[in-house]
């Protein structure tokens, strides 16, 4: 049985059905014609006139067209099955490809806005619980859409009541992670990190302690102070060892520039904090510098040699 179908499939691919009818029909016609001639010859031999013998042979044989069609159907059955199977599989494959294309076109990809419905919300308050308005809220949302990983930054500021909301930024029901940092004037940098399997994020409350200004003097490798250098706080490890981060891609709103004397003040650290800051000389790449925040007001000199150092991390 299996052998028969393998043979039929081989014949099908060797000789497509469109080439079959002509040869086959000629063969069947010749076979039927031979039958008629023999039957006629036998009747003539028995004494019947030739014309009557032919009519008798034809009448005995029946509908020649139907017999030929039945023969054709009998012979080409396997090939027709193979042909229909071929068409069916081709249609199935085309359907699957079309379905895949539709699903692929509908699925979110890295770089596109997420189809999120989850909000980030919360409040920024001082150590007494009073609201802090105008605080920068810097959020980075990490999601894993079907075709990869994406990371998107969102920035906002708290209102007069200290509250903030960033709407529709993560997908409910799917894994996401959120990094939120808050930077307010003369308040210590705070951040939090949340991993979720898709639950709605609870409102986040940032209680910001008063800070001491961190004064930085940015110098080039020749010792000259650099005006117009850009600086932003990247990391703060407080006395308790807690790590607070501002992601690079969300830092735009808190970048400050050095003045004519090459000095800039970052009002978001406390004395004793371990700080990491990003520094970029005009028309140069970003560099990081680590330091321990000194007692209040003491300027810290940071030397940046733009030509010999790598870019931002």
């Amino acid at each position: 049985m299996i052998g028969r179908w393998l043979t039929a499939a081989a014949q099908y691919f060797r000789r497509p059905p469109t080439l079959l009818p002509h040869d086959l029909c000629r063969s069947i016609a010749e076979e039927v014609h031979f039958h008629m001639e023999e039957a006629t010859r036998e009747e003539v031999a028995a004494g019947m006139p030739a014309a009557a013998a032919r009519r008798a042979a034809r009448a005995r044989f029946g509908d020649v067209g139907k017999v030929a069609a039945d023969c054709y159907a009998a012979v080409s059955f396997d090939q027709l099955v193979c042909h229909r199977l071929h068409l069916g599989l081709t249609a199935l494959l085309a359907g699957l490809l079309a379905l895949f294309a539709v699903l692929w076109s509908l699925s979110p990809r890295a770089g596109e806005a997420p189809a999120g419905t989850g909000d980030i919300s919360g409040q920024v308050v001082n150590e007494r619980g009073d609201p802090i308005g105008g605080a920068h809220v810097l959020a980075v949302v990490k999601t894993w859409p079907p075709n990869g990983y994406r990371q998107q930054a969102y920035m906002t500021t708290s209102g007069p009541d200290g509250r903030f909301t960033v709407a529709d930024v993560y997908p409910l029901g799917r894994q996401y992670e959120v990094q939120i940092a808050t930077v307010a004037d003369r308040r210590a940098l705070e951040s939090t990190y949340v991993s979720s399997e898709g639950e709605e994020l609870e409102p986040v409350v940032f209680r910001l302690a008063p800070s001491e200004p961190l004064v930085l003097r940015i110098e080039g490798d020749d010792g000259a102070s650099v005006a117009g250098a850009e600086v932003f706080p990247h990391r703060r490890i407080d006395a308790g060892g807690h790590d607070h981060l501002v992601y690079f891609q969300s830092a735009d709103p808190i970048i400050r520039r050095t003045n004519e004397a090459g000095v800039v003040t970052l009002p978001c650290y406390l004395p004793g904090d371990k700080a990491t800051v990003y520094v970029r000389l005009p028309k140069q790449e970003w560099h990081t510098r680590e330091l321990v925040v000194p007692a209040s007001g003491q300027p810290v000199r940071l030397t940046v040699n733009a030509e010999s150092e790598g870019g931002s991390s």
Binding site: R4, S27, E31, V32, F34, H35, F61, V67, A74, F77
Partner: protein, 119 residues
């Protein structure tokens, strides 16, 4: 030739067996198969020629018989069919099944007490 009343209808499913049997003695063309069945059964069975050729092609497709063109007794080109090994095995199976059927029907017919009496 006997009168048409003396002829018997071919039982469904027996045509293949008769064709296979007709070829057991050697290759024949379709017309020869029909005539062999007719003469062997003394004109009792007459194969419908319209059924013969589709059956031959179907059996060829199944691999029971193989066809090739040759010269007939009247020196004409004719398509000859011969039995394959698979066809011989099929013939044995069909003959066995037929003999079982005949025995079973005979048993029924020979059983006493089953006669239908006229009122």
């Amino acid at each position: 030739m006997p009168a048409s009343n003396d002829r018997a209808e071919l039982l469904q499913g027996t045509l293949d067996m008769l064709i296979l049997k007709s070829l057991a003695g050697g290759p024949r063309h379709g017309y020869g198969v029909a005539r062999w069945i007719q003469s062997t059964t003394r004109d009792v069975l007459m194969v419908e020629e319209g059924s013969l050729y589709p059956a031959l092609h179907r059996m060829e497709r199944r691999g029971w018989i193989k066809a090739e063109w040759g010269q007939s007794e009247s020196n004409r080109r004719a398509k000859y069919y011969r039995l394959t090994r698979s066809g011989r095995a099929q013939l044995r199976r069909e003959v066995d099944a037929w003999e079982r059927l005949v025995q079973a029907v005979s048993l029924v017919l020979r059983t006493a007490g089953g006669e239908v009496s006229a009122r």
